[in-house]
């Protein structure tokens, strides 16, 4: 911040004044605005739902949960459960997953230098689905563990699939990204076919599997949020720290190395972090599409390709987008719920196409 302030004063007195300033200020401003936007959306999502709860009641309930605050419970029984145990964890989960998928998508796109990359490109989703299906096939349910064994299996499956892809694609000391993508796509198809076979032969358990694979936020509990919170925050912070090297890696590997970036180490770190957060997101809510590929592109269209801004803006936009999408999913046909995956594309795609037409800048 200090350096930045000095830079600003310098630029003002510089050769051509504002012309010479680097246009960072307005992107920093956008980050702050989006952060406030996120806060607003969270509040909105708390208030709006299939059951109407007035804003005042919502705020009273929130305050009553704070320590040292005494609020007389003047609301209908169950209202506080709706706010604090149904809506809040759900909003939290949607925000975390949206942020995770968007930032992982941006990181993968940068890592692979490929605009079509999404968080599921190298087998994370397929691995987690297969892991979950295997978990369903086991005779134990592990409900005693709190959230059950399914998320654990999904998480392990996602990480294992990516690890296999990584080992397959590795050539000596280097990791060519094209090989990585191809290995990921091929292994993904293999895992999908194994999964389809398992589903067909799963007999009685098919219901549970099919419902799980569809993904949903509807029954998110605090314990679920607690489980993935750490992973997603740590992974996101790691990716944000390495934004500048990621920028340089947008040149080819050779140039990046000549500019002092340890490309192979960077690939490993970013791949690991992005996979970790994608796996955490997928293991509880299934493979939600669209967010991971479109949010980074939308951010790129609006604010440019510099990863130091692209990544934090993607985090915020992804969280806002998915919270809003989930809000639509649970209120549009209230009290019925629409699977969130349907809504992401239904509302996200037209919006994306709109800015694609409007902005007309070089995208990738």
């Amino acid at each position: 911040m200090n350096r930045n302030a000095r830079h600003a004063s310098h630029a003002a007195g510089g050769v051509s004044g504002a012309e010479r300033a680097i246009p960072w200020g307005n992107r920093r401003c956008s980050i702050v605005c989006l952060a406030f936007g996120l806060l607003f959306i969270v509040l909105l999502a708390l208030v709006v739902g299939s059951v109407p709860i007035p804003l005042a009641t919502t705020i009273k309930i929130l305050f009553s949960k704070l320590p040292f605050v005494r609020v007389e419970p003047a609301w209908r029984a169950g209202t506080d459960i709706i706010i604090t145990e149904i809506r809040m964890p759900r909003i939290m989960m949607a925000g975390l997953v949206g942020a995770a998928l968007a930032v992982a998508g941006a990181a993968y796109q940068g890592l692979f230098r490929n605009p079509l990359a999404d968080p599921y490109l190298i087998g994370v989703a397929q691995g987690s689905s297969l892991g979950a299906v295997v978990g369903f096939m086991l005779p134990v349910t592990g409900r005693a563990l709190g959230t059950g064994i399914i998320p654990l299996f999904a998480f392990a499956g996602a990480l294992a699939a990516t690890a296999v892809v990584y080992l397959l694609a590795r050539q000596g000391k280097t990791l060519p990204v094209t090989t990585l993508i191809l290995a990921g796509v091929a292994l993904g198809s293999l895992l999908t076919s194994i999964m389809s076979y398992l589903i067909i032969s799963s007999g009685d358990k098919m219901h549970s599997i099919v419902f799980w694979l569809m993904g949903s936020f509807s029954l998110t509990q605090w314990s679920d949020v607690r489980m993935i919170f750490g992973y997603i925050v740590i992974g996101t912070v790691v990716i944000l720290i390495f934004a500048r090297p990621l920028n340089v890696m947008q040149l080819d590997d050779e140039q990046a190395q000549q500019l002092g970036v340890n490309v192979e180490k960077m690939k490993l770190i970013l791949l690991g972090a992005a996979t970790l957060i994608t796996a955490s997101a997928v293991s509880f809510v299934g493979a939600i599409g669209f967010v991971g590929i479109i949010i980074p592109h939308a951010v790129r269209l609006i604010w440019g390709a510099d990863y130091r801004f692209l990544l934090p803006l993607s985090v915020l936009s992804g969280a806002i987008f998915l919270i809003l999408t989930d809000l639509i999913a649970r209120t549009a046909l209230s009290p019925a719920e629409i699977p969130v995956g349907v809504v992401t594309a239904l509302f996200g795609a037209p919006f994306f196409l709109y800015i694609l037409r409007k902005k007309r800048r070089v995208i990738f």
Partner: protein, 277 residues
């Protein structure tokens, strides 16, 4: 600080295929050395070895007396700036963002470009005449403009050694002169060691202090332009005979192709006679 490049009996190759053997030459501080040779002779390979992209199979590559294999990558990038040959650039980035990447080796993980860095970047862009490209995305730029940006990026790296791989390949004659003048001036003023792989023998002759001619996997000749660009050397290495003339103004060698088989020593064309016999 004077920094120089030294190659000691270096053999280079890819996956067991030997490209160059026994390469031995130095580039001193304040010196502009041209690396010439036919297509595929290994000019870019030498640049890769100098920047630790590939490790030499034999021999040592020294920068300021230190083996490059022992210098961490980021430190190396503070010593050597590279202008690559027609690279792919991410088209969504702006010119300014590309040049800013040149500051990367000087920044720690949690730092970002401060006012000093920005000043350096703008200076580099002014020197190369690229300041008006600052806000344009790279995808819209011509080959020559990109080349200038890359030179600006290398300058922004503030290194003591600059390696250029075909720095003038995409430029018209005016820009070629401008860029090479700039390089030569920087080389002299800042006492840089500059090694440029040059395709155009005439530019190499006019601007370089010394030339290193490589062909057939070895260094064939090393010396001043007049020593290296002889009809004999060009004939054996390039297979182009009798093309060397003398520049009318400064007496440096000039290499010119002659159409219809007419060559300098061969004013009368005799049908039926083989050109290279």
């Amino acid at each position: 600080m004077a920094v120089d490049i030294e190659l000691q009996g270096v053999s280079l190759g890819y996956r067991g295929r030997l490209v160059l053997t026994g390469v031995d030459f130095t580039v001193g501080a304040g010196e502009l050395v041209g690396l010439i040779g036919p297509n595929g002779s290994g000019k870019s390979t030498i640049i890769r070895a100098l920047t630790r992209i590939i490790a030499p199979l034999k021999g040592r590559v020294l920068i300021a007396g230190r083996d490059v294999l022992e210098i961490p990558r980021q430190e190396l990038a503070r010593l050597i700036g590279v202008v690559p040959q027609m690279p792919l650039l991410p088209s969504a980035f702006t010119g300014l963002e590309i040049v800013l990447m040149g500051r990367n080796p000087h920044l720690g993980l949690f730092e970002h470009e401060g006012c000093g860095d920005v000043e350096i970047v703008w200076k580099a862009m002014d020197l190369t005449g690229t300041h008006e490209l600052a806000r344009r995305s790279v995808g819209e730029l011509s080959g020559g403009q990109i080349q200038s940006l890359l030179i600006a990026r290398a300058l922004a790296q503030e290194t003591h050694v600059i390696l250029l791989d075909e720095p003038t390949a995409n430029l018209d004659i005016g820009r070629q002169i401008e860029i090479l003048n700039l390089i030569k001036r920087l080389c002299r003023e800042k006492n840089l060691a500059v090694l440029a792989a040059v395709h155009d023998l005439n530019l190499a002759s006019q601007y370089c202090d010394r030339l290193v001619l490589i062909g057939d996997g070895v260094v064939c000749r090393e010396g001043t332009p007049s020593e290296v660009l002889t009809a004999e050397n060009i004939g054996t290495v390039y297979g182009a005979h009798n093309c060397v003339y003398t520049h009318p103004r400064n007496g440096l060698p000039v290499v010119l192709a002659t159409g219809n088989g007419h060559t300098a020593a061969d004013t009368a064309y005799r049908p039926g006679e083989r050109m290279d016999s």
